[in-house]
Amino acid sequence: MAATGDPILKAEGIAKSFGAVRALRDARLTLHRGEIVALMGANGAGKSTFVKILTGALRHDGGEITLNGRPCRFASPAAARRAGLIPVYQEPALIPDLDVAMNLRLGGTPVEAFLARVRELGVDDLRLDDMIRALPLATLRILDIARALAAEPDVLLLDEVTAALPTDLVKRVLAAVRAEADRGRAIIYISHRFSEIADICDRATVLRDGAKVGDLAVEPGIEEEVVELMLGQKLDAATQVARAPVQAGTIGPPQLELRGLSVAGRVENVSFTLRAGEVLGVVGLEGQGQDELFDAIAGFRRPDAGQVLIDGAPVRLRDPADAIAAGITLVPGNRAEALAMIRSVRDNIALPGVARARNWGAIPMRAEAARVQAAVERLQIDTRAMGEVRRLSGGNQQKVTIGRWIAHGVRTLLLFDPTRGIDVRTKRQIYQLCRDLAAQGAAILYYTSELAEVEQACDRTIVIFGGRLVDEIPAGEADEAHLLRAAYGLTARDRETAAGAPA
């Protein structure tokens, strides 16, 4: 059904700043009855901020939202809900320890309408006294969507609702969503999967750097255009690192090797080899299993299957301490996880030196001070505020987490998005540091959400999509456009098509 009449939801010129950071400058979205609009944007484009504003979880600084022709400013998620805009998130908002009927009563959902929706979505064996905790994730998604639909919203916002659903249920959900739109409901659809967008969406609105950069009708072959819109022209000369071309001689023997690693249903059968002196890039969209992959290598999660080998010998990583003993050290994506924020820079950098029980005795204070000082100097950490780490800027905090391992020796370093939210100068220092460490023989696994970094720092890049390795890209070809296509699983499909189908 084609869109008709006045738009039901219209957002214009939405702006939002967090302190000095402008997350949104000019976000726009128009939505008509009977229409499904895909909201798209690369990491950091401002998509999630925009969603939070639309659903009342955040207030916008500028711009206007009109729902049903009336200007709106939602004070809370509950207010947005009352106005007729209901979101469904990746994490189902159902209470695990209550049964289905109780959850419905809690939210005031009409039971009959709900059950009708559930059957329509293809879950036949649901009982109202089933406990939420006992139901599989796929069913919970369906229930969450059915609950939203039963409330007869004017606008439905679906945020990655098909992630981790089996294929048959994805098809059911997509069909139901399309049917809802055909009955005149308006839907905002957020997904990383182009195939789904091609299947059900009417239009795609693309965000980049906090502003709308495109609004196009969905038709075959739109992928390339969307990728270009998402990338824009952001060749930033300032971030170029002068680096010597990779020389075959500097790459050493295999140091870290994964064989068929599977973790908690999020990582499936991943194998790769990381050599001494090499920086191996990992790219993937959000939530494709990279978190679980890094956690498993660092000993925070136990894999369900597969092996981790260090220097060719299998190791069992039951605890982070095992991984550290094997020379594997992790710099996590969230700095709040890695740092004792209320302790000093010195305490934080010196931590690995005293963490093991055998080092719990008297600290050789002079040696420790010298060691910390060397790391601080090498990384140029600005320690004018030598007090608590949380008083440092984000960039300096990140340097402290890395400096901790510089001070205690690096063998296999796992960097998870180390440049997230830090300034350009520090980013450059981190790329350079990676190159230097690799030149000294360290092996580095480098996940980044900023694709442009790959060219700066990595020798080779692997791409993770839906928990699987889908591509491997050598340094020469790792430009941003290629990586983004790969991260959306597009190159893999190309290859399959090229290799598989004769047509």
Binding site: D319, I324, A338, A340, M341, I342, R343, R356, N359, G361
Partner: protein, 326 residues
């Protein structure tokens, strides 16, 4: 959260920050003010003898508060400390007539270590909340002591003379208890500031995940910690028995809540990662003086408990506010 950090620091906020970074100065001011108030209410009370007595009674409190301080660095607490102190003091007094001072004191510390091991097992391996675990182990310990008492009731008991000398004696008007306390305090300062163990206590309390990322196996730390504090509580019990010169089944009970209060008032965060034993010592002195003051005002026991409980709640709430906005 991130918005707050961008706001310029007003003078009031700066004063609060300063107060949090260096609570010790504010605490000393408070202590002096309390002493001045006491002197004002009852002129002539503050003299050399009074100071000696205050210090003497503040010492066991400060030592028991060391148990709370060290466990609080990791975000824990030790509510079995008073029970351990009581048990050690009691057992010591029953053993001394048979085994003499040295062995009597030494063997008396065995039950303390056992309770420490139990706490360590519960907290480190089973990950029971330290508060619940130590509350339970303290009750079990006192139960065991009651049984023990029935079998030793006829054998007589005697507090070791060396402990009485430590507890009640004075050398040139300086309480002898300081001969034990000064080295003890030095030991605690050394542990918290100059050893890897102390460093990890703070780190595990500030962010256990960060400590694990650096290679810590938290269970080892908690196990060692709870055994150590049980030993400290045991030594406190020995000294306290010397001060009181007799033992009972509830010897150190009145010290339990004040020991928690002393650590909290002294600026040790009950959430972990922050604090110093120096603050605790001043906190113990403040509470001892406050106790004198409340006695002087003829405050009933019930009101005292309300005041202590209120202080803990108020101070923690203030610390939460300060840490959130810092």
């Amino acid at each position: 959260m991130s918005d707050a950090s961008l706001q310029p620091d007003g003078p009031g906020r700066r004063a609060l920050l300063w107060l949090r970074e260096t609570p010790i100065i504010a605490l000393i001011v408070l202590l002096v003010a309390l002493v001045a108030l006491l002197e004002y209410l009852s002129p002539g009370i503050v003299n050399e003898r009074w100071i000696g007595n205050t210090v003497k009674f503040a010492i066991p409190l400060a030592m028991l508060a060391a148990c709370q301080t060290l466990t609080m660095y990791t975000g824990g607490i030790d509510l079995s400390a008073a029970a351990v102190a009581t048990i050690t003091g009691f057992v010591m007094a029953t053993l001394v007539p048979h085994f003499g001072q040295g062995w009597g004191i030494f063997i008396a510390l065995v039950p303390a270590v056992l309770i420490g091991l139990l706490n360590g097992f519960g907290v480190a391996i089973c990950r029971v909340h330290p508060l619940i675990m130590t509350l339970g182990s303290g009750l079990i310990g006192i139960g065991c002591l009651q049984v023990y008492q029935r079998y030793t009731i006829a054998t007589g008991s005697e507090v070791a003379p060396v402990l009485e000398w430590l507890g009640t004696g004075r050398t040139r008007s300086v309480p002898n208890a300081l001969f034990l306390f000064v080295p003890f305090a030095a030991f605690v300062f050394f542990v918290q500031n100059r050893t890897g163990f102390g460093r990890m206590l703070y780190a595990a309390g500030a962010n256990e995940r960060a400590a694990r990322l650096s290679g810590l196996r938290p269970w080892q730390l908690y196990f060692a910690l709870y055994v150590l504090v049980a030993l400290i509580a045991g030594v406190t019990g020995l000294l306290y028995a010397g001060i009181i010169r007799t033992t009972s089944l509830s010897l150190a009970d009145p010290l339990l809540l004040p020991s928690v209060a002393a650590a909290v008032i002294g600026g040790t965060s009950i959430f972990g990662g922050r604090g110093s034993y120096a603050g605790t010592i001043v906190g113990a002195l403040i509470l001892t003086v406050l106790g004198t003051l409340l006695t002087l005002l003829q405050m009933p026991e019930g009101a005292r408990r309300i005041i202590f409980g209120g202080i803990i709640l108020l101070v923690t709430a203030i610390y939460v506010r300060l840490t959130d906005n810092g």
